[in-house]
């Protein structure tokens, strides 16, 4: 714990911001992030000629930016909105007509932003331990320094790791956020029917909490409409994933899991814009498969190693690493942790069946929650399924410094891969901060591994 850090916090507490000041400060940062995405969108627009995938990126950024504008409008005009997470059944927020932003949006979606490194360092300066997940440290830093929009209601997340409940407790502890009513669904460790029913009740209580504090509610018909739309999205996603079984895989790391996750779970769950995006993705994928085009569309290139990247993409330094793997080794990320989960369809028969399915999808399916919330069998089972379904040659466990439950599952993952006869690579890095293990080191480790395994 550095002295400077404590001084920083004390200084801030010595001059508490007025509500108006806090609002302005949070809004200013939020706008900086919006501008960052706007620049990204403009850059993506210039690439549209290269391929329709860029059009998909532009559409995704349009949706993200719209969502940001809506939040800005809510803050500026005192309209109710939620700060929450993806696996809190966002279909319910949508059915209630409540905009929301994700508390961990910055590390998840803006990990390449130029301000990320500085903010990561500042999180340590206010007193966070360096061994705490960067994705947790950043939102804590933003909350503690008044840089996150104060919502009408907060919906917390108590899974999949020890970090998220601690982030929630900082929210409850922070003087500016203290009055924000917060609700978090309690995730059971088990995955049976009893667990799903309990989680469905927790979702009910969450919905009641939101209604109590925003006066927004939903009709069962509206919820059904949203869930049906959401089901369409998930069916399309499933169909698209079937395409990724092809050799060569039609897409690599640039498009697929992460974007599909962002769009279906973070921004427009159960919205026709989301469905339209997936329709386009499927169309683009089908076209490539029909033409036999792989992740890189170049005559002198071929897919040689099919990778299951068992985590989030390293967005902080993805451009420095993934293209290198493709170019040097023909190594293609065919599937990643966010790309494939069982996609429980929502049974829209009644309100109860919808809650039950939403509980299942959000507790048992949602990426990362699905793997890390419960026992290690969830990791092992996913490896077995994905390796077989996608003809995987190598399973990569990046070993993100925040994923301590995964770190304690490394032996089990290795054994699972050995039983399957598939090489397993464990790196040890920070998905959000390339200074933890440099890109050069990660490359070296990867190259040695591929060579050692006779894959290159």
């Amino acid at each position: 714990m550095t002295t400077e850090a404590n001084t920083a916090v004390e200084e801030q507490e010595a001059k508490p911001l007025t509500t108006e000041e806090a609002k302005e400060r949070a809004l200013a940062r939020y706008k900086v992030e919006r501008d960052y995405f706007t620049e990204n969108r403009e850059a993506a627009k210039l690439m549209v000629e290269i391929g329709p995938e860029w059009q998909l990126q532009v559409q995704l950024l349009d949706i993200m930016l719209d969502a940001k504008e809506v939040i800005i409008d809510c803050v500026e005009n005192d309209k109710p909105f939620i700060a929450g997470y993806f696996c809190n059944a966002p279909e319910l927020f949508h059915a209630m007509d409540l905009p929301w932003y994700m508390i961990m949006e910055t590390p998840f979606l803006a990990a390449s932003a130029p301000y990320l490194e500085g903010d990561t360092d500042a999180s340590v300066e206010i007193g966070m331990s360096q061994d705490l997940c960067t994705a947790i440290r950043l939102p804590i830093y933003y909350i503690e320094t008044g840089q996150m929009p104060l919502p009408t209601v907060a919906i917390g997340l108590l899974t999949p790791c020890d970090g998220t409940p601690m982030l929630e407790q900082v929210i409850q502890h922070n003087s500016a956020w203290k009055d924000v009513p917060i609700y978090s669904c309690d995730p059971p460790y088990t995955s049976d029917e009893r667990a799903v029913n309990y989680y469905a009740e927790e979702l009910h209580r969450m919905a009641d909490h939101i209604t109590e504090h925003t006066k927004h509610t939903y009709s069962v018909d509206r919820l059904r409409e949203v869930c049906e739309e959401s089901n369409k999205t998930y069916s399309l996603w499933q169909e698209y994933n079937e395409l990724r079984r092809n050799v060569p895989c039609p897409h690599g790391w640039e498009i697929g899991g992460a974007q599909a996750f962002a769009i279906s779970q973070c921004f427009v769950a159960g919205d026709p814009r989301c469905t339209a995006w997936f329709e386009k993705l499927l169309e683009v994928g089908e076209e490539r498969v029909a033409k036999g085009i792989g992740a890189i569309d170049r005559p002198d290139w071929e897919e040689k190693i099919r990778i299951f990247w068992f985590d989030i993409m390293p967005y902080g330094w993805v451009f420095e690493f993934m293209p290198w793997m493709e170019e040097e080794f023909g190594a293609v990320v065919v599937m990643d942790m966010f790309g494939n989960f069982p996609y429980t369809m929502i049974d829209t028969t009644s309100e109860e069946t919808m809650y039950h399915s939403l509980a299942k999808r959000n507790l048992l399916d949602a990426p990362m929650i699905r793997q890390a919330r419960g026992t290690a069998e969830n990791f092992a089972g996913d490896i077995r399924r994905i390796v077989e379904d996608y003809k995987i040659d190598v399973v990569v466990w990046p070993g993100h410094m925040g994923h301590k439950d995964g770190a304690a599952t490394v032996g089990i993952m290795r054994d699972t891969c050995r039983d399957l006869g598939v090489p397993f690579l464990h790196v040890g890095l920070d998905l959000y901060d390339k200074r933890y293990t440099s890109v050069e080191e990660v490359k070296e480790q990867t190259a040695d591994f591929f060579r050692g395994m006779g894959l290159a």
Partner: protein
């Protein structure tokens, strides 16, 4: 570690703390008794006592390396489960007839997964502990305890009746009351026992069959009657943290002149400061309420930080501490953020706070001494006016 306590009971406690399979446990097993190990103080050990089993709180005392468990864990995992698993793989826990784990943290919960894949213990189970402290969570845990009871009954061919559970709760509460008595000896200016000795007493209570421990504890309290108070310390401190079962850590602090007079740790007051209520009709309801809500919680329980801080302040006031030392095992996310909040809250209350990150097997004693010494210097002569802060 020197002591002026002349007590056979105390010697038994020291032996139980310094070893795993201690003499009392060996005697218990020799007489046909069975032992169930458990991780985390939120496992309702009363259930094992009611089943006629000896509950044994898992530690990694005596471990020297993690060579075997390195195949299961990574270097970003807490050293406690790594050492504990290593000992298990070395066969040091072969005296256990059962092992119960909880999803207490990201590191410990994987002990269960690695254990079932590598070891052949008769009864192994993981329980699902909620993350909140409200009524639905009490009810969830109530069911979890009922499932545990059923599983124990089946595995050990015993019947756990309500009466047996009530008796176990009563016995454990009596033990808690005696442990409180021991701790209250430390409220005076020159307490007859120091932090090292107190930790030996409490750790032993998690490793010796409860009824026997109670007898020893009563004897110990009698033996303490004539013991001279310990003077010569420069300041009184409290320890706040998690998995602290190593008296040597306290010894280093006390050698610098800080007397450890109380704590909020899970081998400390959080185990016994509050009793299980005996006013419920159903003992399982009583246990569920106790483990989820009534006992002082640890950071893994959300929505409860304010009560935890109140408990820390209550202890600090009652034991008149000059400062608080927050200990954390490296890579523990829960205590990392909790101490960040502790630091801010205690500063506001005017109570100095020092955070120490450590490994389970004590290393870097010199550095620890230096930091403690510097802390003591900032505390000396300050004096906290508790009437004003709490």
């Amino acid at each position: 570690m020197e002591t002026n306590i002349e007590s056979e009971a105390y010697q038994t406690f020291v032996e139980a703390t310094q070893t795993l399979n201690n003499t009392e446990l060996k005697n218990w097993k020799r007489d046909g008794g069975k032992v169930v190990g458990y991780f985390c103080s939120t496992v309702p050990e009363e259930v094992f006592t009611a089943a006629g089993l000896a509950p044994f709180r898992m530690r990694a005392t005596g471990s020297t390396n993690t060579e075997l468990s390195d195949a299961c864990f990574s270097n970003i995992n807490c050293s406690f489960p790594r050492h504990a698993m290593n000992l298990a793989l070395e066969g040091e826990f072969d005296f256990l007839d059962g092992m119960v784990c909880l999803n207490s943290c990201d590191h410990v919960r994987r002990i269960y997964d690695n254990w079932i894949r590598n070891l052949d213990t008769h009864f192994v189970k993981v329980m699902s502990l909620p993350r909140k402290v409200e009524q639905p969570q009490i009810e969830w845990y109530d069911d979890e305890i009922k499932i545990l009871i059923k599983d124990v009954e089946e595995s050990f061919d015993v019947e756990i009746t309500q009466e047996k559970l009530n008796d176990a709760i009563k016995l454990h509460n009596e033990v808690r009351e005696l442990q409180k008595e021991v701790f209250r000896l430390r409220t005076v200016e020159n307490p007859p026992l120091n932090g090292v000795e107190a930790l030996n007493v409490i750790v032993a209570g998690t490793a010796i069959p409860k009824a026997r421990y109670k007898v020893l504890l009563e004897q110990f309290l009698k033996d303490m009657e004539g013991v001279k108070g310990k003077g010569g310390h420069r300041v009184r401190v409290m320890i706040v943290g998690g998995e602290l079962d190593d008296p040597e850590f306290i010894n280093v602090i006390e050698n610098e002149g800080a007397l450890v007079v109380t704590d909020s740790t899970c081998f400390g007051t959080r185990l016994f400061w509050r009793p299980v209520s005996e006013s419920y009709d159903d003992p399982v309801t009583a246990l569920a309420n106790y483990y989820i809500f009534d006992r002082p919680s640890c950071p893994r329980m959300t929505g409860d930080q304010e009560r935890r801080m109140d408990f820390t302040l209550e202890m600090a006031k009652e034991f008149k501490v000059d400062g608080v030392i927050g200990e954390r095992l490296l890579f523990c996310d829960q205590w990392s953020v909790e101490h960040y909040m502790n630091n801010n809250d205690l500063k506001k209350a005017g109570i100095p706070f020092l955070q120490i990150d450590r490994e389970y097997i004590l290393s870097g004693k010199g550095q620890l001494s230096t930091r403690v010494q510097a802390f003591i210097e900032t505390l000396e002569g300050k004096g906290i006016k508790y009437e004003e802060v709490v």
